[in-house]
Amino acid sequence: MSRIEDLLRAATRETAGEVRPDSIPPLDPGTLSRPRRATTWWRWPPPLPVLAAAAVVLVVIASLSLGKALPGRHAQGGTGIPGAPPYYIATTATGSPAYDHPEYITVRSTFTGKVLATVAAPRPYGTFTLVQGTADDRTFLVGAQVWSRSGEKRCDSVSEPVRLFLLRYDPADHRARLTALPVPQFDGGCLVTASISPDATRLAVALGTTPSGVSVTVYTLPGGRARTWSLTRHQDMSAGIGVTRDNPQTLSWTADDRTLEFNWDGLPGPGIRLLDTTAPGNNLYYSSHRILWTYGTGSGSSNFVCDSDAFLTSNGAAILCAGYTWQKSAGRTGPTTLGFGEFSATTGKLIAILAAEKGSLPTEKVRLSPRGPVVTALNEAAFPRLMWASPDGSVLIGTLNGPGHVFVYAHGHKQTIPWSSSTAPPEMTSITEAAW
């Protein structure tokens, strides 16, 4: 594919993305027999009597519309949900044991699970160890690495260097192509995660290094400057980015292309922090500010407990996490409500529990601590997980009961999607990961 074709494809997709799923006006069946000509019709103001009559008609139509549900409004075929990404990528282990040497990435259809393309890790790296989504639903950020026998793969001081690539899937010919990003390979530390800004002009990388602790570096693309935010020796050297490492947006850009949100796991407590990458300063902690305490205790007086890292929607309006309600009266083994908690980004208050369903957590997974209930990991696969969210948080992909129950949630409805056991959701100890 030529450069001009690449440009055209990317530009048209980004322009189309300006139309957000929640901005489509509902169809009023009463208007179907009347073409709408607003752009030309309103150029000449209609006479007042016509306006008055139109106002009456509008009131009547509105009252009728409120009184009955629109037929078929939420009817979704088996092929997709508006606003949901059509493709995802997953690292695929081909050797034995299963969770070993992920030599390939498969591109799959979200709604059928069908493998659309398979990409082998480039030489000399041989394996893939990181997958992330981008603002373009056919472009992904992946990390390739020479296989390390250490348990933590890409996140180990003795692990092999990681090189970042863009993976682009082309539905026209069902091929996926890798392009090396013009940034150095990451060596001698823990590459926690990476994220590309929505306008694709910046790459943010979170690194855990010894002895300087955690740091975030932003590279201007293509091939530009680097700026790093780190901690001083007097700060919390045990701090990290990401609490459970199962969050696709542990580090991610907001829609303004300048603010990074990240999950802080350090003193005075874990939570979401925002970093303005255009403001002065180079201290990761003091240059950023916390917007929500998230892990373990949920938020404030809410009894909803985030079971994994929470993250900010890229429009900055809401904070989402997967979790459950905690009721002391029900005891440790009592029934609970599982779901995705939606918190206000400005007040931190729980707005809603989305995709809620009744369920219970295994006894062994919950223990009490001075901070409240804490989940311990005996069965990682069954953890509720939020795996993807649209920029405005209106469409979600995740699971409440493990990899056999991954679904897309939109506008109050769930659609279960096929999910192979070999592509389980990202887990703390698994190298099998998926990204939209």
Partner: protein, 182 residues
């Protein structure tokens, strides 16, 4: 515009009622309004005009619903209607903003495959300078990823014409972006 099969001979759908049409068109709207509005947005660069065009397309489908013998082709009909509506809107003067004045050089290296916002605006401005047919084929090919046969059906032209139009459209686009005279 190529009409749906059945329109020419006025074959009606047995048992089709207004409520059937309302339910079916409403369901199609729920499933395809977003995609079609995005298509119109790419073609027009004007959100309000895009919504008008899409709404009109669904109205047209509703009026013709009883004549459809193959409702599976409803999306194709809608897509053709949206393209027609975009042509009309552009003729009528609902035009997007003019070209952005940027110095864009097409990079030879695939390593620089990232798109800046300036590049995006320049590409979209250049796209909208192309003749209508070239613009439509490029959008259907590179935005919707439609195969040539489906592009041909949507536009009512031959597949060979699709291929040659895409070729000419890409060449024109590159000339505009690199500032070369044709």
């Amino acid at each position: 515009m190529k009409l749906l099969p059945g329109r020419e001979d006025h074959t009606t759908t047995p048992g089709a009622t207004a409520s059937d049409a309302t339910a079916a068109v409403s369901a199609l709207y729920a499933e395809h309004a977003l995609g079609l509005t995005r298509l119109a947005q790419v073609m027009l660069g004007d959100r309000s005009a895009a919504e008008d065009v899409v709404h009109d397309a669904f109205c047209g489908l509703y009026r013709r619903w009883e004549f459809l013998t193959d409702t599976g082709k409803a999306l194709q009909y809608l897509r053709s209607s949206v393209l027609n509506g975009c042509r009309t809107a552009l003729r009528r003067g609902t035009r997007p903003a003019g070209p952005v004045d940027v110095d864009l050089t097409i990079a030879a290296s695939a390593e620089h495959a990232l798109l800046t916002s300036e590049e995006r605006h320049a590409v979209m401005a250049a796209l909208r300078q192309l003749p209508g047919r070239q613009r439509e084929t490029l959008v259907l090919r590179y935005y919707l990823d439609l195969p040539d046969a489906e592009i041909a059906r949507s536009m009512g032209i031959r597949e060979s014409t699709v291929r040659s139009t895409v070729h000419r459209g890409l060449a024109s686009l590159e000339r505009i972006l690199t500032g070369e005279s044709s």
